[in-house]
């Protein structure tokens, strides 16, 4: 049993830390090759992400998106489904949020607009995931394939709407008209100012609270309700779930709708919270980033929040790095982010056998006879 606990700690803490360190080590070598002092770069990155209020604001603002998409991936993952469609669901969710705002009377108050936009994002994101879910549950099309394809469909669909239906008159950029001011998700610096504190302006807005609430709700749903139990049972052992009378088709449908709805909330942070209009491609990168975040966060809301924060740091710190250091172009920053994804996602279990062999060795045969492992 002691060994069991050790394995849990290896998986949850040691492994992610080692992975990140490896990614940073490789990045350091890369920096050294292109004539950048890795320590200096690390300093710039950390300062950029956490060194001043605005930087922190940006970091958390990016992290908010990753919390939503990370949770989306994790919920599906607990049912054994791999939702690659976060990008498309986030994008279409944005349509839901945008339409909710643009179709309501602009004189209404924030108390109408903000819940309406959240509901719009939830419904549209969820519905966009419902179609692949239906195809998986009742037609046997593989969810990985269909969700990927639905990303492309979402992109084309949104382009059509943005260009032909929603484009603001006289605008060359395909973007909608500005949302009415009272529909904006309040900026954190405005809220702080209202409370008598002064913090630097950044895109950080109250959506982060929504993200944290979602994280708690996801935790509660998965681990503290019968539906979550059914979902996890299905994901861990499909035959046992079937035996328990859990209908896997229903699980697929429900889980994917929840997953899509969570991904759709990216638009609340991006559009309702910051851009204040429906724009093109606001979602790019967050859906796929969410997969890495979920993997690194071990599909647990707490882990996802931490992993999202790491990705927020990489986004904001990376931008700062590209800004401050002339040798580091934005492409190098992408490479750095890619390395973290590679080591934390794709090569996740690289160190695992080694760690387990050394830190939690299998007991000898004689000890085995009592309790089977």
């Amino acid at each position: 049993m002691k060994r069991d606990n050790r394995i849990v700690w290896i998986n949850r803490l040691l492994l992610p830390l080692l992975n990140i360190l490896t990614a940073f080590a490789v990045t350091a070598v890369l920096f050294w090759i292109i004539d950048v002092n890795p320590m200096e770069a690390a300093e710039v990155l950390l300062y950029g992400a956490f060194g001043y209020e605005e930087g922190i604001g940006y970091t958390i603002y990016y992290a908010t998106n990753f919390i939503f998409t990370g949770l989306a991936v994790a919920v599906a993952f607990h049912a054994g489904l791999f939702n690659i469609g976060g990008e498309g669901q986030a994008y279409v969710g944005g349509l839901g949020a945008g339409l909710a705002i643009l179709m309501l009377d602009p004189t209404l108050g924030a108390w109408v607009f903000i819940p309406a936009s959240i509901i719009g994002a939830l419904i549209f994101g969820g519905l966009w995931a419902l179609i692949p879910a239906y195809l998986q549950a009742y037609r046997g099309s593989h969810i990985v394939i269909t969700t990927i394809m639905f990303n492309f469909l979402a992109a084309s669909f949104m382009v059509y709407l943005m260009v032909h239906v929603l484009r603001d008159t006289g605008q060359m950029t395909p973007q909608s008209e500005l949302f009415p001011t009272n529909s904006w998700m309040p900026f954190m610096h405005d809220v702080a100012a209202g409370l008598g504190y002064s913090i630097e302006a950044s895109p950080l807005n109250l959506s982060i609270l929504l993200a944290l609430v979602c994280a708690v709700l996801v935790w509660f749903f998965l681990w503290q309700t019968r539906w979550g139990f059914a979902i996890r049972a299905t994901g861990k052992n499909g035959s046992a779930a079937l035996y328990a009378g859990i209908n896997p088709k229903h699980i697929i449908i429900v889980v994917m709708c929840i997953s899509g709805a969570l991904a759709g909330l990216v638009s609340i942070n991006e559009l309702v919270g910051y851009q204040h209009r429906l724009i093109m491609d606001f979602h790019l990168g967050y859906g796929f980033g969410g997969i890495a975040v979920a993997l690194m966060g071990r599909n647990h809301p707490l882990g996802i929040i931490l992993a999202a924060l790491l990705f927020g740091t990489l986004y904001q710190g990376g931008a700062e790095l590209a800004f401050e250091m002339s040798n580091i172009s934005r492409d190098i920053v992408v490479v750095m982010q890619g390395l973290v994804i590679l080591f934390c996602g794709a090569l996740d279990y690289m160190y695992r056998p080694w760690l387990i062999r050394h830190l939690a060795p299998v007991p000898k045969q004689e000890e085995l006879s009592g309790v089977a492992i």
Partner: protein, 532 residues
């Protein structure tokens, strides 16, 4: 025919984690003989052959092939030593021709054409010699299953095999194809090829082999000359006997039937009928035993009765409700009606290894309002539920937070039994209740089953342990090849009778007895369409 040993295995030992797949297995196969190895699914036959073929390495033991000692670390070395293997699932490239498939892996040189020509000559010679006629330029997907198997055999011979191992070769064949295969075996034997045949079909063993070895639970339990044994004896050996403590039970007080099964037929996804026109009644106050060699429809029967697999035809009346193919009842609905089910395979179905014991103890009952407070699945109540079950069935360690996988098999089983029995169901379906459970727990479990029966519940007991069936049941039905091959009262049952019924010894031919792989029927269909 010489007395040279083609294969000699000494004390082969292999563990997979806690599973002791091969326990000091010894085997001697004489050159030029056809040697059968029989045993139930999971007895360790395939593991043993995989060790011989270099797929796995034994933890201990010695392998001699043609009187030379080898240590195989991969199958290439086994092939070089003269061993050929025909797997249950063919390893052929569907859209390659026969010729291309045969030379795959031994193309010989950079230019394909040279290799192909040389191979064509050699294969023609082999085909003539052994009567293995196949069109060399036909693509695999146009060939029937029987012919594909022939290609596999040719492939092995082409690579110089002097010893052929065939894993369940007739599982995918029609009776005619089986006859043809046996004819080929005869030809091969005449040419001095040694054949090792792995199967659990006793008829084939009796028909074709010279010697037979029986495996059970990872051990070699008997070596016999085929002439000197019988199907019934082999069946007994395969299933094994266990010294059981006597179960104390009073005469059954049988009442009205709680479950009526009429003409139940179950076809798997590939359309193969795994259960054929099965009818019986299960009455309150009795234990109905279902005997049979595993893989003869017991799993399908349990899963159909509990609503897990859909029925193909027939009806099941249970606790006042009726279900048929068009009107299925889901497992959760049946559970609400008062039907509980202890699945045969606890790892696969009975619990979720990664879940804590308290969560596994909830499987199937997670919607119970007694455990839910509104939308909240109360941790406290979940744990209390598990603690109560653990106490009632003496599950050790009594730690609800421990991962299910970390309990021993017996304790896992007790937890599952507790979960299903403590809710006092009217109908209880139990599969293999004592598999892998120690003697003390067996007695306890049997007593609980009898208690259920005495309380007026109906119990259906599926077991491969004949003693268990005979001592716990009141009535027995025997399944063979998906059909009921015998019905009798427990007091009339003895091992010999049951063994004969299990082997369906009255039936001269058992076509397609088990088709437990997916490819089988797909290929079967292809076969029917393009009989060459």
């Amino acid at each position: 025919m010489t007395d040279t040993l083609a294969i000699e295995l000494k004390d082969i030992d292999k563990r997979f984690g806690a599973v002791h797949a091969n326990n000091k297995v010894c085997l001697q196969v004489k050159q030029g003989n056809i040697h059968g190895i029989v045993g139930e699914n999971g007895a360790g036959k395939s593991t043993l052959m995989s060790i011989l073929y270099g797929f796995y390495q034994a933890d201990a033991g010695q392998i001699d092939v043609l009187e030379k000692t080898y240590t195989f670390t991969d199958s290439h070395q086994a092939i070089a030593a003269g061993i050929g293997m025909v797997h249950q699932h063919f390893m052929l490239v569907e859209n390659f021709t026969v010729l291309e498939n045969v030379i795959l892996g031994s193309e010989g040189g950079a230019l394909l054409a040279d290799g192909l020509e040389a191979a064509r000559k050699e294969l023609t010679r082999l085909g003539d010699e052994y009567g293995l006629k196949v069109k060399l330029d036909a693509t695999i997907d146009t060939l029937s299953v029987g012919l594909q198997q022939r290609v596999e055999i040719l492939k092995a011979l082409y690579k110089g095999a002097k010893i052929l191992i065939l894993d369940e070769p007739t599982g995918v064949l029609t009776p005619q194809e089986t006859e043809e295969l046996f004819r080929i075996f005869g030809a091969l034997k005449k040419q001095g090829v040694t054949i090792v045949l792995i199967t659990h079909k006793l008829r084939e063993i009796m028909a074709i082999t010279d010697q037979v070895s029986v495996m059970r639970a990872g051990q070699m339990v008997a070596h016999k000359d085929t002439k000197e044994t019988s199907r019934a004896e082999l069946a007994e050996l395969m299933v094994g006997r266990k010294v059981l403590l006597q179960v104390h039970k009073n005469p059954a007080n049988v009442r009205a039937p709680l479950m009526k099964v009429k003409h139940l037929t179950i076809a798997d996804k590939q359309g193969v009928e795994r259960l054929k026109d099965v009818s019986f009644e299960l009455r309150a106050g009795e234990v109905l035993g279902v005997a049979g060699v595993s893989g003869n429809g017991q799993t399908e029967l349990l899963e159909a009765l509990s609503g897990i697999v859909p029925m193909t035809s027939g009806t099941i009346e249970v606790l006042g409700c009726e279900m048929d193919a068009k009107h299925p009842l889901a497992p959760d609905r049946l559970r609400q009606l008062g039907l509980a089910h202890v699945p045969e395979d606890r790892q696969r179905m009975g619990l979720i290894s990664d879940f804590s014991a308290s969560e596994s103890a909830l499987l199937g009952y997670h919607t119970d309002p007694k455990i839910n407070s509104g939308i909240w699945l109360s941790d406290r109540k979940v744990e209390a539920n598990c603690k109560a079950l653990m106490q009632a069935f003496d599950v050790r360690p009594a730690d609800p937070q421990l991962k299910s996988a970390n309990f021993s098999g017996g304790n896992q089983q007790k937890l599952i039994l507790a979960r299903e029995m403590e809710r006092n169901p009217d109908v209880l379906l139990i599969g293999q209740p004592t598999r892998g459970v120690d003697i003390g727990a067996i007695e306890f479990i049997h007593q609980r089953i009898i208690d259920m029966r005495d309380a007026g519940k109906a119990v259906l007991l599926v077991s491969v342990e004949l003693d268990e069936i005979m001592s716990v049941s009141d009535r027995i039905i025997v399944l063979c090849d998906g059909e009921i091959s015998g019905r009798l009262d427990a007091c009339d049952a003895d091992e010999r009778t049951l063994g004969m019924m299990m082997a369906n010894a009255l039936d001269p031919l058992d076509p397609l007895q088990t088709m437990d792989d997916h490819q089988a029927s797909v290929k079967q269909k292809a076969h029917q369409e393009t009989q060459v």
